[in-house]
């Protein structure tokens, strides 16, 4: 089975990979917000250009960036066509029965589609260049203030880390069990709905059994190493801002300012 899940980490020696995960996380959110401010063709153009620049710097083959789009294709087409047919406007391009396509509609649908594409690719860039562990670490640090409200931030982050860590393991397990049952004549991909659901039993039962076994073993291993949650815990990798992180934050702010400026103009 392919080790690469859509949007999963792609190792490469790039400056984007080396950026502090917090900068990337906040930066991505910031980028998404600016997309909603942009609102004009010029605005989307600047955003697309900026994104292209980041993709270039990340040294990840663009093919991987656009893989995430395939899963979203339906939503993309659906949203765009809704806008295409339902936007009222002055200049009517096509009129046929109850269908009315206006110039405004075309422009609007195009913008919406572009915005969605930039949004999806933009978030894919972050997950492709940041390991899940770095990401949860960043989330934990960013959410630290909420510890005062007695929200178990550390525990939540730890759970996320463990869950992410075991996704590839479970996928390997699925692959192995599926093959073993296929060797005994199991058939996972033909037949009607009920037959297919039934054919999953020989896969799911061993999978659950092994997931519980693993969970148990992990808990014991953590216990044996005196894991006590957040109490007096220090970090091996302390996240520190490097000059490049300040630089990246600066560039982001300038980018935001440009977009707001364009938005005002338009």
């Amino acid at each position: 089975m392919a080790r690469i899940v859509i949007g999963q980490y792609y190792p490469a020696p790039s400056v984007i990979h080396r950026l502090d995960a917090r900068v990337k996380l906040v930066g991505t959110m910031f980028f998404i917000v600016t997309l909603f401010i942009a609102g004009t063709w010029a605005g989307y153009g600047v955003a697309a250009l900026a994104l292209a620049g980041v993709i270039y710097l990340s040294k990840v083959p663009p093919m991987f960036m656009f893989r995430g789009l395939r899963a979203m294709l339906f939503i993309l087409i659906f949203t765009a066509s809704l806008n295409l047919f339902l936007t009222p406007g002055e200049v009517v391009l096509v009129e046929f029965f109850f269908i009315r396509v206006t110039l405004e509609g075309v422009s609007h649908a195009g913008q919406i589609a572009l915005r969605l594409i930039i949004l999806i690719v933009g978030s894919t860039v972050m997950t492709l260049t940041t390991t899940p562990i770095q990401l949860t670490d960043a989330i934990e640090t960013l959410l630290n203030p909420f510890k005062k409200l007695r929200i178990p931030v550390h525990e939540i982050a730890m759970m996320m880390t463990i869950a992410l860590r075991f996704i590839p393991t479970l996928m390997e397990e699925v692959d192995k069990i599926m093959k073993a049952q296929m060797a005994r004549g199991a058939d996972f991909d033909t037949g009607g709905l009920i037959k297919r659901a039934k054919s999953l039993i020989p896969l799911l039962i061993p999978l659950f059994v092994s997931a519980f076994r693993r969970a148990d073993e992990l808990a014991q291993a953590m216990d044996a190493r005196c894991y006590r949650g957040d109490v007096n815990r220090t970090k091996m990798k302390i996240m520190r801002f490097a000059p490049r992180d300040f630089l990246a934050s600066g560039i982001l702010i300038i980018y935001g300012a440009i977009l707001i400026f364009i938005g005002r103009m338009g």
């Binding site: 093959k179 049952q181 060797a183 199991a186």
Partner: protein
């Protein structure tokens, strides 16, 4: 003897065209004879499991062909189902794949998928469980009630019940205690004698393989580096040690004694046969 399975220029690359790409098999050419007991040996990660998963079409070659009785197994998609019935594969730690609520039900899974009559399924399940040495009182037990060794046997029976022409076992004794290990190996040897099917046994352990196999294949770094009858393979200890393997200690000892001038026959790999041979000389 005729060739049962022929492997031509087989290569396999996992996750091709990604940064995780990894060559697991590199241009393998080999044939497996009808009715032989073949041992496959190699260090961890040498590609043994990848190799055997190609033989019943679970993995598709990146390049190359697998011929079963002269027919390319990937020439036609509908062929694969019958290929998997004819070539039974027992995975590493097969007990992790048990899923039915009873041992009997689990062993019946394979033959039931073959559209056999209920009587035939019943007969096969009972035969298979008997072959692996499980008695009637475990039939209705849940897999969770059995010991590790018993579960392993039940899982092996699950493949045997399909009566494959070729039986492939991937490390069938991994993680078992010496007694359980010997019991399973003896049963496999016994079955080979009775049924006469082709058997491929994958293992880390030279001693196990040399005791049972007619022929041995040594894999290292995605390639087959040596093959032949055990005596031939063990007569090249330098090539074995170069890839982190060693001839069984008894074979090495016999070699040393021969060099000292003792007149010992070749093909001695086990303590029992060695003791007999030495007794004959000293006796």
């Amino acid at each position: 003897m005729t060739a049962k399975i022929e492997i031509e220029n087989l290569s396999h690359i996992y996750d091709e065209k990604t940064p995780f790409a990894r060559v697991a098999l590199d241009d393998i050419n080999f044939s497996i004879q009808t009715g032989e007991f073949l041992g496959v040996i190699g260090h961890t990660g040498s590609g043994k499991s990848t190799f055997i998963q190609h033989l019943n079409g679970l993995l598709k070659p990146t390049s190359g062909r697998i011929l079963l009785d002269g027919h390319d197994i990937h020439s036609d998609k509908s062929l694969l189902k019958s290929v998997r019935q004819r070539i039974g594969l027992v995975f590493q730690y097969p007990e992790h794949q048990l899923f039915e609520s009873t041992i009997y039900g689990d062993v019946a899974f394979g033959p039931t998928n073959m559209d056999l009559s209920a009587d035939e399924v019943d007969a096969r399940v009972k035969d298979a469980l008997q072959l692996v040495g499980l008695s009637e009182d475990v039939y209705e037990k849940s897999p969770f009630e059995l010991s590790g060794g018993q579960k392993r046997r039940a899982a092996i029976a699950g493949v045997l019940a399909m009566k494959p022409e070729v039986l492939i076992l991937d490390e069938p004794t991994a993680g078992l205690d010496p007694v359980g290990k010997d019991a399973i190996l003896n049963q496999i040897a016994e079955m080979h004698k009775v049924v006469g099917n082709t058997i491929i046994l994958v293992s880390h352990n030279m001693e196990d393989v040399s005791r049972l196999a007619d022929r041995i294949v040594v894999m290292a770094k995605s390639k087959i580096i040596l093959s032949g009858i055990p005596t031939e393979v063990f007569s090249q200890p330098e090539r074995l040690t170069a890839v982190g393997l060693a001839a069984p200690p008894i074979a090495t000892l016999m070699d040393l004694l021969r060099k000292k001038g003792l007149n010992l026959p070749s093909g001695i790999f086990t303590i029992e046969t060695a003791a007999d041979a030495l007794e004959g000389i000293i006796g």
